[in-house]
């Protein structure tokens, strides 16, 4: 932990996390155990109506996957955060969050009792006054969702590994909301949800030799 570190939190498997990331600060997410999907939303701390828009992010980039240089945009098309470093190389914008409700469609009603990312978003979002109406399509860090030529898409085995991390710079004051994905019915967490680490720093730890966790 360097003097530049604002906060450093190990997010337990299956749990949520949220935090304020000030303009110019950096947020790193470290995939401690490897192949752990991290569902992620951003809100403008001054006006939470301005939240991450997967569709504006994708339309502006003309590309589905996030990596170094990708700009996360809000619902009005303005930059919220810029990915400054990425060890994994590909992150998902289209798969959204798992929910108890969608699990009944994807796997059957026997999956209803399982914990899910939307539960985490609702629980953690409530601390900031965010509710059901504030949820939208999210980023899935470290999740691999290819799209075939015929449109077939799906969550397949991940490209991440223990210790890989992604870092983004906040372009304004942001509320970051994380669900450390508890899904056990598909390979997004290698069928074994594991802890991740959320680190807020005043400078870019990747470019300043902060190293990996």
């Amino acid at each position: 932990m360097s003097a530049e570190t604002v906060s450093e939190t190990v997010v337990p498997a299956r749990a949520p996390w949220s935090g304020l990331v000030r303009a110019g600060q950096f947020l790193s997410i470290v995939d401690l155990g490897g192949n752990q999907a991290v569902d992620f939303l951003l809100y403008d701390a001054a006006d939470t109506d301005l939240r991450y828009s997967a569709q504006n992010t994708v339309a502006a980039a003309g590309a589905l996957f996030l990596t170094t240089g990708s700009v996360l945009r809000d619902v009005e098309h303005r930059p919220m955060a810029t990915v400054t470093a990425d060890d994994c190389g590909r992150h998902d914008t289209i798969g959204g969050a798992c929910s108890k409700e969608s699990n009944t469609l994807r796997y059957g009603h026997q999956a209803w009792g399982q914990h899910a990312c939307v539960e985490n978003f609702l629980h953690e979002g409530a601390r900031w006054g965010l509710g059901k109406r504030d949820l939208t399509g999210n980023v899935n860090w470290f999740m691999n969702v290819p799209v075939e030529d015929d449109g077939c898409l799906g969550i397949v085995d991940g490209l991440s590994a223990p210790g890989l991390q992604v870092t983004m710079r906040a372009e304004r004051d942001l509320i970051a909301l994380i669900s450390n994905c508890p899904q056990i019915n598909n390979p997004c967490n290698a069928f074994d949800p594991t802890p991740v680490k959320a680190v807020v720093t005043a400078a870019d730890r990747a470019t300043e030799g902060g190293g990996r966790a």
Partner: protein, 289 residues
């Protein structure tokens, strides 16, 4: 306000609207003289062209939405909405809500993920964020749709066309959908990601997006309401449309009463995911009935 040339009289003596009585006559003469093609018909069964919609099905919505326009309607379960790209340059940005409980709304991520397909076509469902079918695509003569890019914003239209405000010549889809939302007592935060109909995008293996344009004039899409449905749509250029001009033509909307998909319809058992989504909707409606 727009007025006919005859209302722009040079002198008060020539004015057709100088008195309340004359102004009333002037206003009342407008309907029978109108030649505007982009308009709504109320009652819907006064819509003059009956070639397309099935015989015997009573129209409940008939409207031609101009390029840069928007529309919204509440429909009963089973209603079928037919959208027609009349001249080949319409692009419908579609948002759906469960009527009366609008916090349950179209979830584009679940729509593509649950059904294992990013490209909409006949036999696909439009899913809510609560694991239920909001609507099903009955007919697709276009095959050019997009779930990735959503509705263009005012900011984006300012960059592309110089303006994106609703009163400009180049309104942005999101600005129009905000107005449709406001008329249903909803706010911008209630607007979900949308799907685009009649203008398509494809992804290559690296995730790069490629504009595929439209399918030409006359293509139709039919959307069946599987639940009580609040439909909002804006007819505006797709965000990735590469053309420099704001290019969008009229979109015709017809809707008629029919019934929701039932267990003996082929769609019901077409995939396990579709069966469970339609079952979840039927279960919810049955419990509340």
């Amino acid at each position: 306000m727009t007025g006919s040339a005859s209302a722009q009289a040079d002198t008060p003596e020539d004015s057709a609207t100088a008195t309340t009585y004359a102004a009333r006559d002037h206003a009342r003469a407008q309907e029978s003289a109108a030649t505007v093609a982009d308009r709504s018909w109320v009652p819907a069964d006064t819509f003059p062209d009956t070639t397309d919609h099935p015989e015997g099905q009573r129209l409940v919505w008939a409207e031609t939405v101009a390029g840069g326009g928007y529309a919204h309607k509440v429909l009963a379960p089973g209603a079928v909405v037919e959208l027609t790209d009349l001249e080949g340059e319409s692009c419908a940005q579609l948002a759906l809500f469960w009527a009366g409980r609008p916090w349950e709304r179209l979830c584009v991520a679940d729509t593509v993920k649950v059904q294992w397909n990013a490209y909409l076509g006949a036999g696909a469902l439009l899913l809510s964020d609560q694991g239920r079918a909001l609507a099903s695509l009955d007919l697709d003569e276009s095959g050019r749709h997009d779930t990735f890019c959503g509705a263009a914003t005012a900011e984006q239209n300012r960059e592309r066309f110089g303006d994106g405000e609703p009163w400009s010549a180049t309104p942005a889809a999101r600005e129009l959908l905000k107005l449709a939302a406001a008329k249903n007592d909803l706010a911008p935060r209630d607007l979900p990601p949308t799907v685009s109909l009649f203008k398509g995008v494809k992804a290559d293996p690296d995730g790069r997006l490629r504009w595929t344009g439209g399918a030409g004039a006359g293509a139709r899409v039919r959307i069946r309401a599987e639940a009580p449905l609040l439909v909002m749509l804006a007819n505006t250029p797709h965000p990735l449309d590469p053309r420099e001009d704001y290019t969008v033509s009229s979109l015709r909307v017809l809707a008629w009463k029919d019934r929701p998909t039932a267990p003996d319809d082929p769609l019901w058992e077409s995939t396990p995911e579709i069966r469970r989504a339609l079952s979840n909707t039927a279960e919810f409606l049955g419990a509340a009935a």
